[in-house]
Structure formats: C-alpha cells, structure tokens
Homo-oligomer: 262 residues x 2
C-alpha cells in the first residue's frame, strides 16, 4: 500500500535551503520470503528508478538528512543506518538523466543550474523489517516500491553501483558484526536467520555448522517455544540477546574467544 505523506517536503528543492555539492543516497534493505528487497522510487514521468535520496539542509547533520529521507518514504524514524561509502567521483552522472529530471519536475532555470552542478553523495544503508513498513510518496507525481535485489529495474545514474557496494560492505562485515536484529521479527527460526546470511553471502551455508557457530558467539538465545510450520515440522524459536548483540556491534565479533584470529 502506498500512501501520501504530508511531510512538508517538496520535490522541488530551493537551493538556499541546502548545502552545495553534497547529497545522501539510502539503500534501504528488508528481507521477505527469503529474498533481500531494496526500496526504490521513481518520478512517474521518468523511466528510471532511484534510491531514496536528497540534499542536506543548512542546519542539519548529514546522518539526520539520511534519516529524514527514509522517514519520508517509510514513516519510520530512527532507523538503523550506516555510512558505507562516499561516492566522490567527478562524473557520477549522465547529464541526460539529470536533464530529464529537471524537465519532469519543471525546475526554474536557477534551480536547474544548481542541480546540474557536481554533487558527491554519501551512501548509507538502512536495515528494516519488511512487515513493519508502509510505503509513502510525498507527491502523486511519484511511485515507490520494493524490488528483489536480484531483479533490479533500470536505475538512474550510478545507483546500481551504490547498491552493489552497499551489499559488498555488508557482506564484508558479516564475519565480525551481528546481523538480523533489525530485519527479522522478534522471534525467528534458525533457518530464517541462516537464510538471511545466505541471501547476503549469495551462497548456501551448512545447516549444522551455521547453527553451532552462531550459538557459540552467544548473541542468539533459544526459546522453549516452537512454531508450527507443517504437520511434522515445528522448529524452535530464537530471540536476540540485545545486550550481547549491542556489545558485539560495538566491539566486533573477534573479541569473542575462538571465533576469529585475535
């Protein structure tokens, strides 16, 4: 369901409100039916989908700009976000792409001139729980949707690269940072957690080794409760131990004995 969100945001920025040269782009990821999904929006008049992104207000921290961009699209505040890369190349855009946007939005000449200047963009990834999210557009000139990460539509500018590099960053971090707290429901099964890792890694993991290793790190707790998923299938449910999870998030997994090289 897509709704209109009355955030006071305008699709047509006025340049004196925003910092020059720097923007934010957010790779918002969720996990649904075993597949990683990324949030994209599009101007109805344009053929290319875009990452939720925007400019940084004069009196706004850059991280706060990323949160605002995500809130406008999902209704959620204080989402889990992380900087992963500054895209600082000179020629990030096909200027045709930008001119199409300018035409679609009917920007003033002054605004168009500002819009066509060079911008570097800070890439953030955000991890959210699929079922918790409603989708919002902030004008009926826009559409928004989830797309499976392995079946992306035609994308604007360097947004395909931005998505790929976000995923690579997360993949690199899977060995030393926990994942799942923001993306899974409160109670989950071990196969669900494994499938999340498999989706990020793009490969199957050994069921028993995975369970043994995850439990040895100590941030996942087994409940007595089971979930009935079939006549002879009732897997146990698990929850994250929030204190341990946050401790590992802060210090890295290698500080846990026997899990890594240090």
């Amino acid at each position: 369901m897509t709704r209109l969100f009355n955030s006071g945001e305008s699709l047509r920025p006025t340049k004196d409100e925003y910092l020059d040269s720097i923007s934010v782009d957010c790779v918002v990821l969720s996990f649904n039916e075993g597949v990683l999904q990324v949030l994209l929006n599009k101007l109805k008049k344009s053929s290319k989908w875009m990452l939720p992104g925007g400019f940084v207000r004069m009196d706004e921290n850059v991280d706060a700009a990323a949160q605002r961009v995500i809130q406008v699209r999902t209704g959620l505040s204080d989402v889990f976000i992380k900087q992963f890369h500054l895209f600082g190349e000179c020629n990030r855009f096909d200027q045709e792409d930008n001119k199409n946007i300018i035409d679609s939005l009917g920007m003033t000449d002054e605004m168009a001139k500002w819009y066509l200047r060079r911008f570097v963009t800070m890439g953030y990834y955000a991890l959210v729980e699929y079922s918790q999210i409603d989708l919002f557009v902030h004008s009926d000139e826009e559409e928004i949707d989830w797309f499976p990460l392995n079946k992306l539509p035609y994308l604007y500018g360097d947004h395909r690269d931005i998505i790929d590099i976000a995923n690579n960053s997360i993949r690199m971090q899977l060995g030393y940072l926990p994942i799942g707290y923001q993306m899974l429901p409160e109670k989950f099964t071990m196969p669900e957690l494994r499938m999340l890792y498999e989706a990020f890694l793009g490969k199957e993991l050994d069921r028993r080794n995975f369970q043994r290793k995850i439990l040895s790190v100590g941030y996942v707790k087994k409940l007595k409760e089971k979930r009935k998923v079939g006549p002879h299938k009732s897997p146990f449910l698990y929850v994250f131990d929030k204190t341990k999870y946050q401790d590992i998030e802060k210090n890295g997994m290698y500080l846990i004995p026997d899990t890594a090289i240090l």
Copy 2:
C-alpha cells in the same frame, strides 16, 4: 628531516577552484619503535596542530584529493588510503579556531567568508612505512611532524575525534582484514607483527596463540632467514604472501575456514 615541497599548492585557496561544503582530512599512521605515530601539521603562527587536510578541486575525485593532500606532505603517491567516516555534523568547529587560521594566513574577506561556511569532511586513514617517509611543508609558514598516538598535542577543531574514530575503525577491522603490509618492512619478525596488532588493540596478545592463528590464515610466510638481534636471539623472518593478502583484503578473513563464524 623536513623539506619544502614545490607542489604548486598554496596555503591560501581561492574559492572558485574548489567544491563548496566538502573537505578531506587524513589520519596518516606509521609504526616506529613499537608505537603508532600520526602525522600532524601546524601553522607556525597557530597553537593548534591539524591533520593533513584540504579541499576538493572542481575536477578531482574525492579520493584523489586525499592522495594529493598526503603526497604534498610525504612525497609519496598512491598511498594505501581508506574512507572511514564522513564527519557531517553542523557545528564541527569552534569558529574562533577558524578565525585564527584566517588571520594567520591573511585571507581576503571573500575567501574568509567562504572558509567560515559549513564544511563536512571525509575522513581517510592512510597506512605508511615510517622509514620510507620524508616530511615536507609547502610553505615556510608551516611545520610538520610525527606524534605518538598516545601523546597527542593540542588539536584543532574536531581533529582529536577524527583520530579516535579512525583508530576505532581499524581496530574493528583487525578481525577480518589483514594489516601490516603497508606499515612493516618487507621482512619482519613475528614479534614485530604482534606488536603492531597490540598497538592498535591497546592490549597484549598471547605470543603463541597469535603466531598460531596468524599462520593458520595463510597470508604470512616464514623464511629460512633469521635476524640477529642479540647474542642468543635470532628470530626468524617472515614476509607477506601478497596474493593471499590481497585476496583476504577483498573478501574478508571470515571466508577462510575455521577462522571465524561463517
């Protein structure tokens, strides 16, 4: 030894050359006599030391700006650098600090106005080999030196935070990325590599466990050669296996069996 470097760089930027709003700051780290050292420079007229930093030219990638800033100070090109955090807060600076710099440099009013606007800065860390580096100033109004990370002088703006966050980023990565190739001489002893890890971690590591784990990852090779360091002390020398080192750098250490949770 400090030398003047004729790079054509000026201490007094002219605003039309550079992107608005974004700068780079570089935490250049080396390892000497068991201690991590950070490179700092200072205007002679100022009381505060600064990280090597600068603005981004209109036609320059942001990563290239960081390389340029480092080359001007060290004479080295293509140094190992890595983005670690965008410092995007609104009030990063004490404006008194900035006014002192403006006075010290005798900036024009127009330039001073630009300089006092809000800048966010991309933090890079660079890892270099101490013995390979000469230090350069690009004007005799400046000085430059190495400082032990645990004995930093009075620092400008948020540069103390930038250094702390760089170190924290490296510490987090020690469990999944290799380190040492850029900071140690080609041939090194196992205690030298261990001391480098200990310096980043700020704690002692068990000598035998460290050696066993490092060798199990496979990117460090033992030579037949020894180094004579005392009458009864001739430790073996080691080198990095560059191919394996780069492979781990790209894929993370957790892909090596039995070293981490995956």
